[in-house]
């Protein structure tokens, strides 16, 4: 009796690990092992040493690309916030049904692949596309180039990433107790001060969650900036791709990847200390 009981207890403690095993093994094999390999390559290719890191951290091209990457990520995050906040607010004020309708429209773009959405922007913004045609019809003789600029890549990335922002903010707004707003009103708070002192601070966690998510995803964005962005304003992921695909500079590409990874982890670390990473997932 005692034996079977302890066996049962043992099985109980083992059970969660068994359930986790497939994913853990998968991630270890296809994510951790390659990652370690990348880290190794960064200090062994073409020669052992830290020469790759020296190049990445001191070379002006690389610095420019990294600064550009962070600048773009920041800009995209800001645009997502400016677009997403009012929309999330709208969703939190309309009926549940209407909110679901808006959410459906927003998430519908998730059903189409990145690549298709990116090509769609190429068609829309191209020299023979509808936007240029509209500008010409309106009397702008020489419309500014739209495609292959910072504008087009930012626009497309905002389009792709805004849903993350909207959903994070909406989740928080939806949970705000309406009696908090009423109570602030009864104390004399009107629109502007109500927003500044009560509503904005209450939604701050959603803003932080959405911004970190968008910013971090944007740092490593590859397809969209490569296909739509200006070649003169490359982002880190694109440059890493070039190093490996065109110059076969595995060591240098790996070093850049590790730098990007470390910076991303540092940002997440700071966020975690301030807000707690667990909040990011609801």
């Amino acid at each position: 009796m005692g034996l079977s009981l302890s066996a049962l207890a043992e099985r109980k403690t083992l059970w969660p690990w068994l359930l986790l095993a497939p994913l853990t093994i998968y991630l270890a094999l296809f994510f951790l092992v390659p990652l370690v390999e990348v880290a190794l390559m960064s200090v062994t290719e073409p020669r052992p040493g830290l020469a790759n890191y020296e190049k990445v951290l001191t070379g002006s091209l690389y610095r420019k690309v990294f600064l550009n990457t962070f600048g773009t990520a920041l800009l995209v995050t800001l645009c997502c916030l400016l677009v997403g906040y009012p929309l999330a607010y709208l969703m939190s004020t309309v009926s549940k049904r209407a909110a679901m309708g808006i959410l459906l429209l927003i998430t519908m773009s998730f059903w189409t692949s990145f690549l298709v959405r990116t090509y769609a922007w190429m068609v829309l913004l191209g020299n023979n596309g509808p936007v240029v045609w509209l500008m010409q019809t309106l009397g702008i003789a020489e419309p500014p180039p739209l495609l292959f600029t910072r504008f087009s890549s930012t626009l497309a990335m905002v389009h792709i990433l805004a849903p993350y922002m909207i959903m994070n903010i909406y989740t928080v707004m939806q949970k705000i107790d309406p009696s908090l707003i009423r109570s602030a009103e009864s104390m004399g708070a009107y629109g502007k001060s109500l927003f500044r002192h009560i509503y904005l601070p209450l939604t701050a966690p959603g803003i932080a969650n959405g911004s970190v998510l968008v910013f971090v995803i944007c740092l490593g964005f590859y397809v969209t900036p490569v296909l739509l962005g200006s070649p003169r304003e490359q982002m880190a992921a694109g440059l890493i791709g070039n190093q490996i695909e065109q110059f076969l500079a595995f060591g240098l590409g790996s070093a850049m990847s590790i730098v990007l990874l470390v910076v991303t982890l540092v940002i997440l670390g700071i966020y975690h200390r301030r807000f707690g990473l667990d909040k990011l997932y609801g």
């Binding site: 107790d177 009696s179 009423r182 009103e185 009864s186 209450l202």
Partner: protein
């Protein structure tokens, strides 16, 4: 013209649903008035109309003879304590209390000083810099009260503020709220569905039912002289018995259960011969005995259940089809048994008469 808050013919409909029929009410300055009634009776709607969060469909509300009709909630200068306290979670206790002052352009230094004074008044002297989540339910309640009072509002509205607290804390807060209200002299409306709360705190109780006021009177008047059968039933425990008036002049009535009864309670409504009425006798005015008692009116019943509360007990029995409740001192219970037949008795001044 001495009424401070006046509701005249206030009516509120939502589509085809009438939430408030026709509310007339006058409240004196400094008075503590409780809105009492079951949920959905219109008490909270009335509160929200006064606060300005709901617009009355018809009727007028005035405070100190000024109409509130065109004032937004922000302009009404009314302090409200919500059921769930509605404290701002990102602000400390003192910042919460300072907020209404901040909205009135009171400087930070002076405002925070006032806020801390108010926190002291509600018994939270050392807690000014705690966040709401670091405070207990009772302490949050006190912060909400301080926040609703700090800007010297014309009216204080409390919407079932004690509902979330446990029994001991509730009683403590009842006394506290009453003490603070008296000290500041603020005109207060307190909404509750708890009749003991209403009884112990109020200068006057307004009983709501189905969007109308059933009765507005002092607690003991409501208890001893209820205006309607609903009030008699809702407030306290009661024995309600059908009867017909046989001799209005001497207060004689004939009841199928009790036989001939003399009605002699204070403040009886005018009676007419042959009028069908309901008699009200409170359980504590009945006495139980083996034999009929001299000098009292008697009837017989069979004991069904005895509910013991320690210091007292309620004996539930039936006389014919009629259920009878008798409250007896706790010590008397030991000689009673379920299934026993016994007499219950009362005096004429315990019998109140309600319109049928």
């Amino acid at each position: 013209m001495s009424a401070y808050l006046r509701l005249a013919g206030v009516n509120k409909t939502f589509g085809s649903f009438t939430a408030l029929g026709h509310i007339d009410l006058e409240v004196e300055k400094g008075e503590f008035v409780t809105f009492l009634g079951p949920s959905g009776s219109g008490k909270t709607t009335t509160l929200m109309v006064i606060a300005g969060f709901e617009q009355a469909t018809k009727g007028e509300i005035t405070v100190a003879d000024q109409s509130l009709a065109h004032l937004a909630p922000q302009e009404r200068n009314i302090g409200i304590v919500f059921q769930n306290y509605a404290l701002f979670p990102h602000k400390t206790a003192a910042e919460n209390v300072y907020f209404p002052l901040q909205m009135r352009k009171v400087g930070k230094k002076e405002g925070m000083r006032k806020a801390e004074e108010m926190l002291e008044l509600v018994g939270l002297a050392g807690f000014a810099h705690r966040l709401p989540k670091e405070l207990s339910g009772g302490q949050q309640q006190r912060v909400a009260l301080a926040r609703a009072l700090v800007f010297e509002p014309d009216l204080l509205l409390l919407d079932e503020p004690l509902g979330a607290l446990d029994k001991n804390l509730r009683e403590q807060m009842q006394i506290e709220i009453k003490r603070i209200q008296k000290r500041l002299g603020v005109t207060t409306i307190f909404v509750t569905h708890d009749q003991t709360e209403a009884m112990s705190m109020s200068d006057r109780i307004v009983v709501f039912s189905n969007g109308a006021i059933e009765q507005a009177a002092a607690p003991l008047d409501i208890y001893h002289r209820p205006a309607t059968r609903f009030v008699a039933d809702f407030i306290g425990e009661s024995n309600l018995l059908e009867a017909t008036i046989t001799d209005a002049a001497s207060g004689k009535a004939q009841s199928p259960v009790l036989g001939e009864v003399t009605c002699g309670a204070e403040g009886l409504p005018p009676l007419t011969d042959g009028q069908a009425v309901t008699l009200l006798i409170r359980p504590e005015h009945l006495k139980l005995s083996r034999e009929p008692k001299e000098g009292r009116q008697n009837a017989q019943m069979v004991i069904e259940t005895i509910v013991n509360y320690g210091d007292n007990a309620v004996v539930i029995g039936h006389a014919g089809d009629q259920q009878i409740r008798v409250r007896v001192p706790g010590a008397d219970v030991v000689i009673l048994k379920e299934g026993d037949s016994c007499h219950f008795s009362w005096t004429a001044d315990a019998v109140f008469v309600l319109d049928k």
